[in-house]
Symmetry: C2
Subunit: 128 residues, 2 copies
Amino acid sequence: MGKPNELTKAEWAVIKAVWEQEPCTAPEIQEKLLKQTGWAYSTVRTLMDRMVVKGLLKSEKIRHATLYRSAVSQAQAQRGEALYALKQAFNGALTPMVQCLIDSRNVSAAELVELEALIKAKKKTARS
Amino acid sequence: MGKPNELTKAEWAVIKAVWEQEPCTAPEIQEKLLKQTGWAYSTVRTLMDRMVVKGLLKSEKIRHATLYRSAVSQAQAQRGEALYALKQAFNGALTPMVQCLIDSRNVSAAELVELEALIKAKKKTARS
DNA sequence: TGACTTCCTTTACATTTGTAGATCATACTA
DNA sequence: TAGTATGATCTACAAATGTAAAGGAAGTCA
């Protein structure tokens, strides 16, 4: 299970669309992304085929048409990205990274409560 | 203040070395990175010059030699990377990202305490 | 069954990134 | 001052990425 290589922006756009509707065809994804990206069909198609080669998507040929599905889950991809940032930028130091996150954004009171709860929960599971 | 574009792995390696010793010369950085990367002088030099063009480093010519310094702080670069992950992978949702981080790693009890404190502190500043 | 519409396949090309050899200018040293 | 070591510049080249046009094949509707 190699690390799901980090995704490029374009790849993120595609795989997000795929997650929303699996399995799917290239024209469907192109349609979905048209507004945000303006990409032509062949652009999307090329991206998707390259992503198959990379192991980010799987494709299956049904007669004439090609069906795609994701080969990495959203959770896997998210984790890959989060851990990449953690490692690269913060040298693996978790606390500074979280600190940075909550300092760099307007965090609502509700979110702070959530975060607190989450950490409490983790403490419980950790200690056992 | 454009977003400090995300850095590539190679760029991270270079800028980290620069932060450790500013100002610095290309040969110094090459030396520093030799062990981890095996890069030749011209490789490092090319990287650094490209980073100047991108606005990641600044360079100054002192006679024959070239002195480099960072043009983005460590904090800025870290923030860029963290926010990129947040936005791209988690669609800006902070809590899930933090959740993911603490689930994907062995977090020590001490770290959990730190995190908790950090959030408490944030709550205080937020409410005012 | 011919025309139209879709989707697929192939090919292409510019830009960015990773990596470095070769050669030129300098400065130090004997 | 000639020779050597050191750093600078230029040029190169392959792989990855972003982006798409052009031309073929297949299914659909009249």
